[in-house]
């Protein structure tokens, strides 16, 4: 079982190595990186490439570790009891399985994605230590021990909003997806926007990396934004010339709203372009 990238996803050798290490040693893989570098996508692609079902668990600030295992739906039980339903006698009717339980119970190996773990409470990762380490947990309501039939491949993404506890980190492999260089970017674009004219792409990448180099931008455009922008360029049939003004003057690229997402950045950029034009 090896992951070698896929038709939809360009994986650098170091990323592949980390993924394969996680698969082989059956330990969770923690992935960090700038927003829009394909952290979440990775889990989907690995699942697709290995032909395994993917169980996603998206974390919010209110998510509790327990919810990934199971939840006791007390409200329906309460309602059923008031209605005199017979189901109410068996508590297991009200235990709702979470993504981890589903993964543990599955007859085939699965891929589990714990998305944006840093959004949750600080205690969240600690509450999952044993579950991720031993891949088992205890259901108190029904007094049963749930043990993984197959250890799932676990991907965890983080946007670095909170520091994760050391005990948790020690149990994971770690990979930081760095912003792709030009060659990798070219490959990524080829995968996502096939059929784009190479001339247009070359100019577009020029503009894109130029934009990322603009000092003082609040949010630098990311890979996913580049892909969106390129798709727009293709859809709108923007000619190459629009990106490259004949007299080499700096200009505002068409549809730049796809790349710059905030007013101040837009103003800053327009001001810079304006100054560049005046200076020539």
């Amino acid at each position: 079982m090896r992951f070698e990238g896929s038709d939809n996803y360009v994986a650098t050798p170091d990323l592949m190595l980390a993924v394969n290490a996680a698969i082989r040693l059956q330990r969770p893989l923690l992935i960090k990186g700038e927003p829009g570098t394909g952290k979440t996508l990775l889990a989907e692609e690995v699942a697709a490439a290995l032909g395994m079902p993917l169980l996603q668990w998206h974390i919010k600030s209110t998510t509790k570790a327990q919810q990934g295992l199971y939840e006791y739906d007390a409200v329906s039980r309460l309602r059923d009891s008031q209605l005199g339903d017979d189901k109410v006698k068996d508590i297991s009717n009200y235990i709702v399985q979470g993504p981890l339980w589903q993964a543990f119970e599955s007859d085939t190996p699965t891929v589990v994605l714990i998305d944006e773990i840093d959004k949750a409470d600080v205690e969240f990762p600690n509450d999952l230590l044993r579950e991720l380490d031993r891949m088992e947990f205890y259901v108190y309501e029904t007094r049963q021990l749930v043990k993984a039939k197959h250890r799932p491949i676990v991907f965890i993404t983080s946007n670095n909003e909170k520091e994760l506890p050391d005990a948790f980190l020690r149990r994971c492999f770690f990979h930081y997806i760095k912003f792709p260089d030009r060659d990798t970017m070219q490959q990524i674009v080829d995968v996502h926007v096939p059929g784009i004219k190479q001339a247009l792409l070359k100019e577009a990448l020029e503009v894109f990396f130029g934009l990322r180099d603009v000092p003082g931008l609040k949010k630098k455009p990311s890979t996913s934004e580049l892909i969106d922008w390129l798709k727009l360029l293709v859809a709108e049939e923007i000619p190459v010339e629009a990106l490259r003004s004949p007299d080499q003057k700096a200009s505002i690229p068409p549809l730049h709203g796809a790349l710059l997402k905030n007013e101040q950045d837009m103003h800053l950029f327009e001001r810079l372009v304006f100054m560049a034009q005046r200076n020539r």
């Binding site: 050798p13 190595l17 040693l25 909003e161 994760l164 980190l169 020690r170 930081y176 760095k178």
Partner: protein, 392 residues
């Protein structure tokens, strides 16, 4: 196997644990590192380093450690024999030393080279190459920057720039200056969630407990929503020597604006006196008396000063010391007053920490604020935030 490497990382202050090290060995045993040094580097990084801020430190430590090993094969460098002997002696066990006497130096060198050859083959072949016998410490110390650096730069045997030598992650090291996103992340640690305001959310747990206690009769409980209840008051130093730091202050400011719901900010120049202002354009017409600020915003606010604290000591210590007008009370009095009013307080200073000791005014302010001054780097900001979020 690789224990020296592990200890070297420890010595370079990387927080590596035994468990992680064992994981790495397990991964090597499983043959994951494939056939190249680069793979080994990635694998080791993935196993041992869990924070991209430490990647740069890891790159350096890795380079230091393996530079020796890397440049051994071939032994093109002409080393003075005495050196080698001396270095080798250090790492030999008594038995080996006895053997060395018996074999003679030349013979041993032969054997050594043979082993290196073999190792070159196996180094491509997998994981064992560092561990083979005494060669690693030999290479390590012989060429190691801490011992005598011979290999590396001088010889032409450094083929390509190694991944870890590119030091791509230098910017992520947390002692460098900060960008908006980094600041936001740091500030987020100050969040403190609390339930306040009107009860408009169903308290499920409470309802269940209450209902159960009620013998099954529904008893609905409501509670207020949770939000970030932290309150922040920021005083920015503007003008004069602060002009050099406008960018980083802007970044801090914009990050603060998005992070805190309760954020109040005021400007001052050099030192706080009896008034501050909100709008730099109208600073002479629309001032806010500092006392009003203290009265209006209670002690639950966390006070952050942002300023370089660089001025003449008179501006702090003397009445009428302000360079703008004659103040009746000295800046120090006002600073103490603020420090008393706000138990949670920090001063962020964009000047580099190492230059602080040369500025008298910085020393004075640090003394007044009981050393609660932090440099405006990510690491300093983190320290400041940790300090501010301490319960008191």
């Amino acid at each position: 196997m690789l224990i020296d490497f592990f200890l070297h990382l420890k010595a370079r202050k990387l927080p590596v644990s035994t468990k992680e090290f064992l994981t790495l060995l397990e991964a090597l045993q499983a043959g994951l590192a494939g056939h190249s040094m680069e793979d080994f580097y990635f694998l080791a990084r993935s196993c041992l380093v869990k924070d991209e801020a430490r990647f740069d430190r890891f790159d350096q430590a890795f380079g230091e450690y393996f530079k020796g090993v890397q440049s051994i094969p071939g032994l093109e460098v002409d080393l003075p024999e005495e050196w080698l002997k001396a270095m080798l002696q250090k790492h030999l066990t008594p038995e080996e030393k006895a053997r060395l006497e018996k074999l003679g130096w030349d013979k041993l060198m032969e054997e050594f080279k043979k082993r290196l050859q073999e190792q070159k083959g196996r180094h491509q072949g997998g994981s064992k190459w560092v561990g083979t016998g005494g060669t690693s410490p030999f290479g390590n110390s012989g060429y190691h920057p801490e011992g005598i650096r011979v290999g590396g730069e001088s010889a032409g045997n450094r083929t390509a720039v190694k991944v870890w030598e590119q030091r791509e992650y230098r910017n992520l090291d947390d002692s460098v200056e900060i960008g908006t996103r980094n600041i936001k992340v740091a500030l987020r640690r100050l969040r403190r969630f609390a339930r306040q305001g009107a009860p408009d959310e169903l308290d499920l747990e409470g309802t269940i407990a209450a209902t159960a206690r009620n013998a099954g009769y529904l008893d609905l409980l409501m509670r207020p929503e949770r939000h970030n209840a932290v309150k922040v008051l920021i005083f920015f130093d503007v003008g004069g020597s602060m002009d050099d730091h406008v960018k980083v202050c802007e970044e801090l400011f914009s990050a603060c604006r998005t992070e805190f719901k309760h954020l109040e900010y005021f400007y001052f120049h050099n030192c706080v006196y009896d008034h501050v202002w909100r709008d730099s354009h109208r600073r002479h017409s629309e001032r806010t008396p500092t006392l009003d600020v203290i009265h209006k915003y209670g002690p639950e606010y966390k006070l952050i000063f942002v300023g370089d604290a660089t001025m003449s000591p008179y501006e702090i210590l003397q009445p009428n010391g302000s360079i703008e007008y004659s103040n009746t009370e000295a800046g120090a009095v006002w600073l103490r007053r603020l420090a008393d009013a706000y138990p949670s307080l920090a001063w962020l200073n964009p000047e580099a920490e190492r230059s602080w000791s040369y500025r008298q005014s910085i020393g004075i302010i640090r003394e007044i604020l009981a050393e609660r001054m932090f440099p405006m780097t990510l690491e300093g900001l983190t320290r400041a935030i940790t300090h501010l979020s301490r319960k008191r």
